[in-house]
Subunit: 143 residues, 2 copies
DNA sequence: GTGCTACTTCAAGTCGACTTGAGGTCAAGA
DNA sequence: TCTTGACCTCAAGTCGACTTGAAGTAGCAC
């Protein structure tokens, strides 16, 4: 068998082993067995972890991902849900685009205070009447 | 004076009063005074709240926002930080774009299981070797 | 056979951003 | 004047996604 040790999976997937155990508890992944105490995984788990990461990036919760992917591991995703989420993503993307440009402007803006810059205030005005869903960022800095 | 009652601010900004109190505790906003016990706010607080919302959307934490905006309320944002964040946003935007397209594809894909669709697997493969920062979505559905 | 070390379990802790609950106060309307 | 109800404070709770810590165990090198 070409099963992978948990540490191997952790390394390749770029997540700590504790996360794999956590995902297992949540029913998201499962080891094929144990070597002694140690979990062994089918290499396919990497794909599954990628799917989970993808789902998380798309804004799905772990529970949603668990629900979307059948018990046997085949994604049986509700197509309407996907379409809805794509729409949402599209909105988010547009918002973030405006935001990125705003940040760039703010960084380059010569006004002593951003509040005195008409462009910044305009952006703010647009934001005040538009932003509803606020995406969060995962901590990505050093531990 | 044309100061606004906390309920008025909450209503206009679309946030519960508890959030305003919480933001005050964090040093993000401040009432101009009280009418009896009730907080009164300068209308400018709405702009400030918009700035906070904007910052949150951009992925800044409340603490970062508090640090970025001077005690007197003038944003004195570190320009390098802004540029960095704009870069980050740009990456996120591109990722989300791929993701949106993937979701649309998955929704339309005729394959019985997404895992059997070459396109889906290709996307997954791209995701497995690229995704690092995972943006979170604020719960936006019904309570 | 003996260590070392990386794994194991399980409970509890953390983090950010709020929300909720209990008990209190006060401005305004009947 | 009295009631009402929206505000007040402060502590504690919640939620999602993990992480951490203590105590135990087994595969591998020697």
């Amino acid at each position: 068998m070409t099963d992978l040790d948990i540490s191997e999976v952790a390394h390749r997937a770029g997540v700590p082993a504790s996360t794999l155990r956590f995902y297992e508890e949540k029913g998201l992944i499962a080891p094929t067995g144990r070597r002694g105490l140690r979990r062994q995984y089918d290499p396919g788990v990497l794909e599954r972890l990628a799917l989970i990461a993808l789902g998380r990036t798309a804004g799905f919760s772990l529970d949603e991902i668990a629900r979307m992917t059948a018990p046997d591991g085949q994604p049986s995703i509700d197509r309407q849900m996907l379409t809805d989420r794509a729409e949402e993503l599209d909105r988010t993307i547009r918002e973030l685009g405006v935001l990125r440009d705003s940040l760039r402007h703010a960084a380059a803006c010569p006004a002593p205070s951003h509040m005195e810059c008409p462009t910044f205030r305009r952006i703010l005005k647009a934001a005040v009447s538009g932003v509803v869903g606020v995406p969060r960022k995962r901590a990505s800095g050093p531990p």
